[in-house]
Amino acid sequence: MIDRKITQQISSAEDLAKVAAEQLEWQAQYQHRVFVCMGTACQSVQSGAVLAALQTEIKNKGRENECLVSPGGCQGNCASAPLVSVPEQDLLYQTVQPADVEEIVDALAGKPVSRLLCDNKGDFFSKQNRVVTNHRGLLNPESIEDYIAAGGFRALLKALAEFSPDNVVQELQKSGLRGRGGAGYPTGLKWSTVAKARAEQKYVICNADEGDPGAFMNRSVLEDYPFRVLEGMAIAAYAVGASKGYVYVRAEYPLAVERVTKAIRSAEKHGLLGNKIGSMSLDFHVEIRLGAGAFVCGEETALISSIEGGKGLPCPRPPYPAESGLWGMPTLINNVETFANVVPIITNGAEWYATIGTPRSKGTKTFALSGRIINTGLVEVPLGTSLRQMIFDIGGGVPDGHKFKAVQTGGPAGGCIPEEHLDATIDYETLMELGSFMGSGGMIVMDDSSCMVDVAKFFMQFCAAESCGKCVPCRVGTAHMHDMLDRITKGEGTMEELGQLESLCDVVKFTSLCGLGQGAPNPVLSTLRFFKSEYLAHIVEHTCPAGVCAPIGQDIRRPTCALSP
C-alpha cells in the first residue's frame, strides 16, 4: 500500500483538521518512510522502476507494516536522478537503480549506503530558502490526503471563513508579492483591479505555458504542488469574485497535465473545488487547457485567445485582461508560481512574507540553474540573493577549471550579466538596470568557452522562430537581426551593419506589439553593452575569442567564391 484514500466531503475547517489528523496518524504507523522522486527528470531515468522495486523489496521482506514508500517530488538536483530520500535519516540517495533497493531497504535503520549518498548538507541545499517548494520533494504530489496532512487547504478555508474578499486583496498587497511570470507586476494591485471590475462573470487563469528555453520551474511546481496551485487559484477566485478558472499548460508537460487533472478531480470530489467550497459561498470550477507549445501563447492576451479557441496571437493592450479578458470579461491571469505563493502568504501572514526579500522584491523565487555550472537544477532563493551566491555557493561555480564569463537571466527577453556585476542582487529592479530581466526564472551560466555573439544569435533565432508574425517589426526585424548576427559570426559583418543592428534593436524594442518583440533585442543589447569587444573581434579581426565560431586564432570566414552575393 502506498497511499490511503479518503472518501468524505470536507465541508468545514473542522473536517479538514480531522482528515489531516487521521492522515498523520496513518503515516505515523510507519517507522520508516522513503520517497522516490517521480518528477519528470527522475521518471525519465526510470525512477518508476525504482519505486516499484522498493515496494516489492519491502513486501518480500515482510516489512509492509513498518516501511512506507511514496512517490515524491523534485529535489532540485535533477542531474543526479533518480533520487530517493529517507527523511528520518536525513539521507538522499542519488542515481539509484532498481538493483540498489535491497541495500537501501536494509540500511533503513542502520548504516547508509555510502556509495549512493548525495551530499544534501552542502551549499546547494543549505543556502536555499524554500517557500514555494517547501516540502523539498517529501510530499506525494498525487495524494490530496498527504497535502491536507501537510496543512493543505487550510489557507483557503481560513480565507473563506475569516477574510472578506477585500481583506484577501489587502493581504496580498501587504505581502509585496509580485508576478512571477516575468514582469513583476504587483499581484495585489492586479487582484484589486479585477476585484473592482463589475461584471456578471469573471475568470481566473493560471499561466503555465512556460516556454523559455531551458526553464522548468513552473513545470516542477505544477508537478509537485498541483493542489497548492489550485488552492491559490481558489483564494484568488474568492478575492476577485470569479467562479471559473483555467490552468493553461503546454501539452509538452504531460506529467504536469496529468497531475493537475487528477488534482482538480480529487479536489472536486472532496468539496474543495466546485460549488459551495467548504460549505461556504465560493463556487469555483477549474478546467485545464492545453497549449500547443508556441512561446507566444504565454503572453496573456495570446493565451486568452487560445483558450477562446482562436489563434494564439497577442492583442494590443489596453484593454488589459483585468478589464476585458477571457470572452471579454474581467480576468485575473497569474503565473503558476505567483499562485503557489498565495497559500504561504495567507497561512503565515503578509508580514511574515514581507520579511523575505528586498524592500521592493519580496519573497523567494525559483530558478532553473543551467549551463556551465557544477550544480544544475531547480533552486529557490530569497530575492536579494546575489548572483555570486547563486552561482558560486549554490551552483558550485564553473566546472573544469574554466573561467566564469556571464550569466543569462530572463529567457529570450533577458540579458547577459558579466563578472563585474556578480555582486548585484537578484531582484526585479537590479536585473532591469543591468539590461536583463527577472523573467520566469531561467538562469544560464556561461564560461570562457561561450561566444557572446553566438549566444545573442541563439536567442534571436529563438525569438524569430517564435514570433507569431502579427506585427511587422517583430516578424521581419527578428529575421533581419538574426541574419546580421549570423553574418557577424561568419566574419561577414561590417561595422556599418553593426550600426544597423543596433538601430534595428531600437526599432523592434519600441514598436513591437507584444513583449516577445519588445524583449527580443535585449540579448543583443546586453551583449553589446558588456561584450562589445567580442563583436569587434568577429567584425574587425575575423576571430572568435571563445573559439566557438572557429578555433581560437583561426579566421572565422568560410572560404568564399567571388560569386556569393
Binding site: G469, K470, C471, H480, L504, F510
Partner: protein, 235 residues
C-alpha cells in the same frame, strides 16, 4: 457616450471616449500613417505605422487601437516616430519581392504611397528575396504573394463583411503566409463567393483582377464603410 477633450499635436480637440486616437485625429485633419487599418472592418494593430507618443507614457501606442481619454496629450509626428515608420516600411519592402515598375498596382498602392510619404528613396536593410508563389487559379482574381504585406485586411473583410472566411494566415514569424481555405488553390476554394471584397480591401498589388496590366489596378475600399453603416442601422 462621454465626450473627452484632448490635445493632438498641440491642437485642442474633443472626441467620444469610445473613439480611437486615429479617428479623432482624422476628424480634425491630422493624418497618421496606417496600413493595416481599414474603416469598415475590425482593428488589427499589426503594421505599427500609426504609433504615436502619448505624454506620460514611456511606450508608444498604436493610434488605431488606443482609445482617447480625458486630458490625453498626443504627438503624432517626431523624428523618432518617422525614423521608426521608415524602418518598418523598409522591412515590408525587404520581406517580399516588390518590383513596383511591373506591378499592377504601380501608382495605386498604399505601400508605395507610404514609401513616398516617408521620403524613402532606397532600402537600406538587406532584401530577403523569399521564394513566393502566384496563385492564378481563381476565375476572376489573382493572388501574388510576392506583394503581400500580411496586413490581414483581406482576411478580415472576407470574414467580417462577406462572412466567407476564405483567407487566413498560416505559419508564424517570417514564415507567415496568406492561405485560402485549408491551403488549397484559391480557385478551388469552397468558401469563396467571388465577391471581390478582398481585392478592393488589399492595400497593395497582392490581390488583383485578372487581365489587369502593370499600373492598371485601381482599388477603392470605401464601400466598406457604407456596408458597415448599413449593417449598424439594421441591427
Amino acid at each position: 457616450m462621454r465626450v473627452v477633450t484632448l490635445k493632438i499635436n498641440d491642437q485642442e480637440m474633443s472626441g467620444r471616449e469610445d473613439e480611437d486616437i486615429l479617428h479623432v485625429a482624422r476628424e480634425h485633419g491630422i493624418e497618421i500613417p496606417t496600413l493595416c487599418q481599414l474603416d469598415g472592418i475590425s482593428e488589427w494593430g499589426g503594421c505599427r505605422l500609426c504609433l504615436v507618443e502619448i505624454e506620460g507614457s514611456a511606450k508608444l501606442s498604436a493610434a488605431c487601437v488606443t482609445k482617447v481619454s480625458e486630458g490625453m496629450v498626443v504627438n503624432t509626428e517626431s523624428e523618432r516616430l518617422s525614423g521608426y515608420r521608415k524602418t518598418i516600411v523598409e522591412m515590408l519592402f525587404t520581406e517580399g519581392n516588390h518590383i513596383c515598375s511591373v506591378c499592377v498596382s504601380n501608382n495605386n498602392c498604399e505601400l508605395q504611397d507610404m514609401s513616398s510619404d516617408l521620403k524613402i528613396d532606397h532600402i537600406s536593410l538587406p532584401y530577403r528575396y523569399p521564394a513566393r508563389t502566384v496563385d492564378a487559379s481563381h476565375d476572376l482574381f489573382i493572388f501574388d504573394a510576392n506583394r503581400c504585406i500580411l496586413c490581414t485586411r483581406c482576411v478580415r473583410v472576407c470574414d467580417q463583411v462577406e462572412g466567407a472566411h476564405t483567407w487566413d494566415i498560416a505559419g508564424r514569424g517570417i514564415q507567415s503566409q496568406l492561405i485560402s481555405d485549408l491551403h488549397q488553390p484559391w480557385g478551388e476554394s469552397d468558401s469563396c463567393t467571388s465577391c471581390g471584397k478582398c481585392v478592393e480591401a488589399c492595400p497593395t498589388g497582392a490581390l488583383f483582377e485578372k487581365g489587369k496590366a502593370a499600373g492598371e489596378m485601381v482599388k477603392d475600399p470605401k464601400f466598406l464603410v457604407y456596408l458597415a453603416d448599413m449593417k449598424a442601422e439594421k441591427s
